[in-house]
Symmetry: C2
Subunit: 322 residues, 2 copies
């Protein structure tokens, strides 16, 4: 994990510089919204995965940074629009964008970051990079759409849940690894390995996120505990809980979630029950299965320090507490 910190420390300044220069190109009207999300101390997981995958396949040029940054821009654009969509009041411990800055600035800031990311990726002149990015944007939008549909017509389906998290989170993380690999000229099974690594890592990342929502207090995660339940999101810990109830009771709770009629007391009771039944831990175990798949994909990477560092990222995702 120490080596991973060193690697982050080595590449992060270049990524932050690129982010700052992107912010510098934006119209003053949307700079506050954009820097609120882009400058808010994000993990920069997607850029680092891109840099690390590229280097794993032998690419060591600083030309990787704009591409890596573009992936963070895409991520930020979806976060910004996502804030409008789910009305989340806190994002990384700060009030979410559309509450602080207004809907107009928020829609436009998302659109502008998306456009800048596209423009940057188009600048590489490699159609494959564009294809990967545009499919990721499409999948992210579809994931968000499914999530909204699920909020309105909640169903007790793990399949729906996995489709949602794959779309809204995993495909862009997959794209980050795949873009790095493609930039490095990886083909066939190696490119496939980068895809598989990213997709499984992405699913696990979101699973752990959803587990943390039921275990981590606001000072750690920047979000209120049980926020997903309050927003009516059926994540895996809650699905596990509902499956443990008698069918009639599960349907009553589901209906209450749908109609937003769960009161504070019942919400707290559910959050407590999920804690006592260790359903967040059960969710982490599911994540561990995906990380195992990711580890298998990693075996197809060239042996070396980057392969080891990517392994450390898998470990970090498994045990992270924020």
């Amino acid at each position: 994990m120490e080596a991973l910190h060193t690697y982050f420390g080595l590449h992060r300044p270049a990524i932050e510089d690129h982010i700052q220069s992107v912010l510098g190109e934006l119209d003053p009207l949307i700079v506050p919204v954009a820097s609120h999300v882009l400058g808010a101390g994000g993990k920069r997981l997607r850029p680092i995965l891109c840099v690390l995958t590229a280097e794993a396949f032998g690419y060591r040029d600083k030309e990787v940074y704009p591409l890596a940054t573009a992936l963070e821009l895409l991520h930020s654009a979806t976060l910004i629009h996502d804030d409008i969509l789910d009305g989340a009041a806190l994002r990384r411990g700060q009030p979410s964008a559309h509450l602080a800055f207004g809907v107009q600035e928020t829609v436009l800031a998302g659109d502008a970051l998306l456009a800048m990311a596209n423009k940057c990726i188009a600048g590489y002149g490699q159609p494959e990079l564009m294809r990967i990015a545009s499919e990721a944007i499409m999948a992210t939008a579809n994931g968000e759409i499914m999530e909204i549909a699920q909020l309105r017509e909640p169903r007790l389906s793990e399949e729906d849940y996995f489709q949602i998290i794959t779309g809204k989170t995993a495909v862009l993380i997959q794209a980050s690894c795949e873009c790095g690999a493609v930039l490095a000229g990886a083909k066939g099974p190696q490119r496939q390995a980068a895809q598989d690594l990213g997709r499984n890592l992405g699913i696990a990342f979101q699973l752990v996120d959803d587990a943390l929502d039921y275990t981590s207090a606001v000072e750690d995660s920047g979000k209120p505990i049980g926020g997903d339940l309050r927003e009516g999101k059926l994540t895996l810990p809650l699905l596990f809980y509902l499956k443990s109830l008698p069918q009639e009771e599960a349907e009553r709770v589901l209906a209450a979630i749908k109609h937003g009629t769960l009161d504070e007391v019942e919400q707290s009771a559910i959050i407590t029950a999920i804690g006592q039944a260790h359903l967040a831990e059960a969710t982490r175990e599911v994540a561990a299965g995906y990380l195992e798949q990711a580890r298998k994909a990693l075996q197809f990477f060239p042996a070396g320090p980057c392969q080891t560092l990517l392994g450390s990222i898998l470990e970090y995702v498994q045990y992270r507490n924020t």
Copy 2:
């Protein structure tokens, strides 16, 4: 103009088919919003310009249709987000999307159409097409941003106005012509001619739109007369009017527009004054100058029926009443 109708009739079915198949791929949640805008009897100006420019430079394959359709998708995506931005109550005679369908669906429908357009254009494997499209998306977002900034801090500047309409309208029309030309393999001065044609045509198109806003009743344009004034938009007819006033009076009206304190009576008086001073007509004359530039660019196109048809489109833009 008869030949232009025939040409539209020849190519429109393929474009409408592609639009329908795009709608068929969307999630049911956003189909109503998307088809509300995409199916609302738009002029399909951008797709036709793409097809016509491609053919003018010798390209006659049906592979042009997905590209042409993608340009309509980009246009629709910006219309959809634009509806949120300016809160317009009527669009093409129908209530605007976010009022009829909710903000969530509207944000997502715009994002999804943008993503589909990108994905489609990336599918051509030609980096230049991606570059043109992503720069157009960026310029459109910047145009919208400038327009919002101008709504909040209105300034009597024609320069600002031309920057706004170039960004929000002309660059995507320019991209439609340029994409057609690039698909056909046009280079150097020919590609430049396609760009110049599109940009000047686009500026003229918006100028005429802004003139129509002060002359055309709701049954013709689908929008209430003087809607731009009511929304606080400083378009050219209004800028001409304000320039005709004593400076102190102009500043008073400008402040009232900014603070939304112009009452119905004063709004009607301004609309009437603009009519009596023929300022919509004066705006059309400015448009005529841009169309003249477009005609000059058209001289660099290969002689033939497509060149003639593009000339008819310039004429149509000049004299259109809806």
